[in-house]
Symmetry: D3
């Protein structure tokens, strides 16, 4: 809402140069082999995203692109931002988003204790309504970090 932005070319800016693709310690395939919850999530996402891509909706593609750029290496490490995505997902209570960001953080080398501490922030900020999601998140963590 309520922006003044226009469609003209975006000028160069100071934070842009720092952003770059993170280096993953594990592929999505390796994660899927380790965790059944991850495997089912990744398969469903791939299938549904194929359908979204087929629709070729301009704004959806722009949003996906923007979303992708948000979690690149920057001033903050990609791993930290994926953990922040986990916090946001848990306190907004979206299981798919929780699984996604927990997998991403795992792929970027976050130890289990960092995932738990991130979930603690979400639990305290978001309250007991977060608990059912926390329980399911711990089930995933158990599979990922066995």
């Amino acid at each position: 809402m309520s922006t003044t932005a226009t469609d003209r070319p975006v000028p160069s800016d100071r934070t842009a140069p720092e952003r770059k693709e993170p280096v993953y310690a594990f592929t999505e395939k390796a994660v899927a082999e380790k965790s059944e919850i991850a495997r089912r999530f990744l398969e469903t996402r791939t299938r549904l995203n194929a359908n979204v891509e087929k629709a070729n909706n301009f704004l959806v593609k722009r949003f996906y692109n923007l979303d992708h750029n948000t979690y690149l290496e920057g001033t903050l490490p990609a791993k930290t931002k994926e953990l922040m995505g986990l916090v946001a997902s848990a306190c907004l209570r979206c299981d798919d988003c929780i699984i996604y960001h927990a997998i991403q953080a795992y792929r970027l080398g976050a130890p289990r204790a960092e995932q738990e501490e991130s979930l603690n922030v979400a639990l305290v900020v978001g309250g007991s309504i977060v608990i059912p999601h926390l329980r399911r998140a711990y089930e995933l963590l158990e599979e990922l970090y066995q």
Copy 2:
């Protein structure tokens, strides 16, 4: 969350050609002269946005740009999409966003009854927790449509 989009150039697509800037029946200045609530909102927004623009944050600019593109003339008229923005803002309960989209819909020629019907959808979907925002929205409508 959970996209597969990458940073490569976005290919042409079918919906893009239809989008264009809407034609406003009233300027923001005219709205500010008619409504004190609108005037205060627009002044504060201008002041704070100047500060945001000064920061020149790449992702914020991209988001503002995407946000701007969402409400252009498309398959649905810009006016309808501003009213949809009003519905979303009211059921997510953000006064600033409500004021912004109500002003935009007014500038695009929406009669008061259309604003009220849109707010009714938000009220029924969102429940009585929307009522304090509805009351403030009606105060703005009273000033705009006097």
Copy 3:
């Protein structure tokens, strides 16, 4: 969303007979004299509601009516339901709604400890994001129960 209800006359039902207006221990005027926060809230609400009533919107009036009926004496005492409205308002984080239901519960004779226990449920369910609203609610309780 997604109902099958139609506009035909609603048949009699088992819960209807039990509902009746509650008896208040205090008038809104008495509350306004005791608490400055309550006074300002009630004045603003009265002014804004006059504006909403002038608009004479059919669905808004129906919703207000339904809302009114929800808190009548029923199987549960009106006081209990106002405290439930307080819980809902606090965990959905609406200051106006919190003030309204805290005033109603006070008018129906709820002691301060019942208001605090209700707010505790909202705090634990809703998390630390509720705390700023809790602080403002305690300011009101201080004025009401001095």
Copy 4:
């Protein structure tokens, strides 16, 4: 919360006369035959609503009735209001509500592009947390508009 409405008969008002039942291009049965997702949703809803109706709760029936009235033909076409219901459902992230309003908009003749533009408003207002719901909505659109 916080209304002054009472239970007395509601006087006539200006917007009431305009409301009337919309004319659907497709029956729910036809939709269920076209889309498996729709069929499962409609069957579950029918089964659960039968149970709710059996309970014969006065306020639930009043709410269902009010809900029904919100989406009738009015100043805004029923189709537009169903699309608004879709926007509200998507940004509040309720899959059942998304499916319901997408089906309703389809039954009222909304082309797929209008559904996508409505979802875009929800995506931009509501953020990436909406994406999992968007993906599932596109799966339904694919079945409905094949």
Copy 5:
């Protein structure tokens, strides 16, 4: 957020003495035998909680403990607070939480009409977005109160 609390020992206070474990009319086992929905919920919860407990996370345990203390007998009866938990769960739209508190209220002797009135508060405060959850809640009530 934003507290000034520190880790020193908490001094005695006036509300603490009143809190004590409630007396349940039914065990979880009895509830699971009566309702298939309850049974599946309780089994899944037990399995997932075992996993959470194994992780032995300090803050999660503290939060679970605090959560437990919130619903003890106090100034308000435990039953009333479980019904408040139901209201909060329904207007925040968490099916697991709704099932949990409805079961707890049932175990503490709440008749079905009290559960329905509590859900009505949530429906009116939270709006039609609550309806899918209400439908599922009524399915549970049907099984519990047959």
Copy 6:
């Protein structure tokens, strides 16, 4: 909701030993002298918290204590967790919470770019409804990092 925790003494656990109070680069007083927004927030919080403390509510004190413990130095640095608190606060849209965590992150040495990147995660996850809060957050950042 739905825990099995009891009131017995909590056994020792592996994450507890690592938690300790963070070392702040700036006092709250120094922050208040630098930023008028911070000063007003801190004054109001102090005044309202005094009132909450006077009430001496057992559960509120326990919750404040738990909240305090969540942001101590642990596996993740306190600064990172305050930035996570900022993300959670921004996507749940609580201005007071945003101001609090932005101040805390500042006091722990977070440069402005880290605050902006954290807010970007909240913006993308939470959508344009976050923008009014982002604007106000940038106003605070401008004062803190001048």
